[in-house]
């Protein structure tokens, strides 16, 4: 029996009650983390998490598991650094192994403008409490001996920024760990329970209509990935969100150790090694919005070409599988968390391609908002009403990448 199976979790499932203090729609990382922190930090245990499929079946199980804080605006850096800190202590917090592994991320620059961008990133990160430093091409090669510094003759490496705290964790174990933690505190997790509509009392949202019948809620939180616009529309809430698929793929096992995570803004691709030794390769999201989970050959072709410029050894590997997830890309590429202007209805959305790394901080902060009714300082910049106030949080550090 391997380590993975030995450390199986104990999850207890319950029948739905008729009403709860808080109902969270979406049993992914953000929904379950919010439920866990509500129960463990604030003693609010009369909570249900309603999931249409099985827990972690959406984007929590479809991302490329990269955790980092080297973002491009102060508000994001502080938020993601807090998330990174929480991830570091998550295994102790939840008494559960999530295969957290610190790897460091190398962000390559091929042109002088990109070098300026990376230098600016380093300075801003340092000023906001995240460690990112510039490294030379030879230092990058020391960290990643497989790297071709000529970029296949087309993309020579001029330098890179290095964020040593970047890490990966096993995505479904993070989801299960939060589910187990929440269940131990008495939270009901309802799988295969599809939300078909919202219960309204005038303007107020009072619960959800589900495939298992109506469930009343004092507060309803949408932690939905993908169908959030459809759900919010039922509460007459408009969101600045478009849903795009993002594809990724893995190769068969690479027999050597590939230490860091490699990322590239010009080529828009990123590469890391999973715990099984497979190389995980991802790229930008598809240009047109869609809810389709189909993968395409075009993507495989263009993405593997880009990755092999930097890492020629990838040519000898075979592609094992590819998949797609659907990402809610907000108009300014930053998350949207908090009140919606409709009583009893909150959202945590706009998680685009940066949701997995934000699970602990997003959950903790949303729980604090629900429990206290006040928006915590870390969430303040990410409120939905920032758009009406013309305070968009446009972040170059998150657009188009993981």
């Amino acid at each position: 029996m391997n380590e993975f199976v030995e450390r199986q979790l104990t999850l207890e499932w319950h029948e739905p009650k008729r009403s709860y203090d808080v109902v969270i729609v979406g049993g992914g990382g953000h929904g379950l983390a919010t439920a866990y922190y509500l129960a463990s930090r604030h003693g609010i245990t009369n909570v249900a998490v309603v999931e249409a499929g099985y827990i972690g079946s959406g984007n929590s199980g479809r991302n490329t598991t990269i955790i980092r804080a080297n973002y491009g605006i102060p508000e994001s850096i502080r938020f993601y650094q807090h998330s990174l800190d929480l991830y570091g202590t998550l295994e102790d917090e939840l008494s559960c192994w999530v295969m957290y592994s610190t790897k460091g991320i190398i962000w390559l620059a091929h042109t002088e403008p990109q070098m300026r961008t990376e230098r600016a990133r380093c300075l801003l990160n340092a000023a906001c409490g995240a460690e990112t430093v510039m490294i030379t091409p030879s230092e990058a090669r020391e960290l990643c001996p497989q790297l071709d510094l000529s970029g296949g003759g087309r993309y020579p490496v001029l330098g890179a920024s290095y964020h040593p705290a970047a890490a990966t964790a096993r995505h479904d174990r993070v989801v299960w760990a939060y589910a187990q933690g929440a269940m131990r505190h008495g939270v009901d997790v309802l799988q295969h329970t599809k939300v078909t509509g919202l219960l309204r009392d005038g303007a107020r949202v009072t619960g959800v209509q589900t495939s298992a019948g109506p469930i009343a809620a004092d507060i309803l939180l949408s932690a939905v990935g993908g169908n959030v616009s459809t759900l919010a529309a039922q509460a007459d809430v408009r969101l600045p969100v478009r849903t795009h698929p993002l594809q990724a793929f893995v190769t068969n096992t690479y027999a050597q150790d590939f230490g860091p995570i490699l990322s590239d803004t010009e080529l828009l691709c990123y590469v890391s090694q999973s715990a099984r030794g497979e190389m995980v390769i991802g790229a930008e999201y598809d240009p047109q919005p869609s809810y389709s989970l189909r993968s395409s050959f075009n993507f495989l072709q263009s993405c593997s070409a880009k990755a092999t410029y930097l890492l020629p050894f990838l040519r000898d590997l075979r592609i094992l599988r590819q998949w797609a997830g659907i990402c809610d890309i907000s108009a300014d590429s930053s998350p949207i968390m908090g009140e919606t202007g409709v009583d009893g209805f909150l959202v945590t959305t706009g998680w685009g391609t940066w949701g997995f790394k934000a699970i602990p901080a997003g959950g903790e902060q949303m729980a604090e908002l629900i429990a206290t009714g006040r928006t915590p300082a870390l969430l303040e910049p990410f409120r939905l009403d920032r758009f009406a106030a013309d305070h968009a949080m446009a972040d170059q550090g998150s657009t188009g990448t993981h």
């Binding site: 169908n227 408009r238 600045p240 869609s290 389709s292 758009f387 009406a388």
Partner: protein, 78 residues
């Protein structure tokens, strides 16, 4: 893969086009002019199903066209 029929050039692969956004209107229930401006500037219908949208034939005749597409399956609807 998505193929889009351009009135001038015929059936061409999606790589030749750039996406120009959904054809959107502001919902009638929003009456305050300032709120209508915010909605027009930032919000999307983000329809899960059949939607009408603008596409630009960038690598072809460089003209705009309106397309009906099913976002659930990412296929063109006649």
């Amino acid at each position: 893969m998505l193929w889009i029929t351009c009135p001038g050039c015929g059936r061409r692969p999606v790589e030749e086009y750039s996406f120009g956004g959904e054809l959107r209107g502001v919902p009638d229930r929003i009456t305050d002019p300032a709120e209508r401006d915010v909605d027009y500037a930032w919000m999307y219908d983000n329809v899960h199903g059949i939607t009408s949208e603008r596409w630009f034939h960038q690598a072809g005749c460089r003209r705009w066209l309106t397309l009906r597409r099913d976002t659930a399956t990412d296929t063109v609807v006649a």
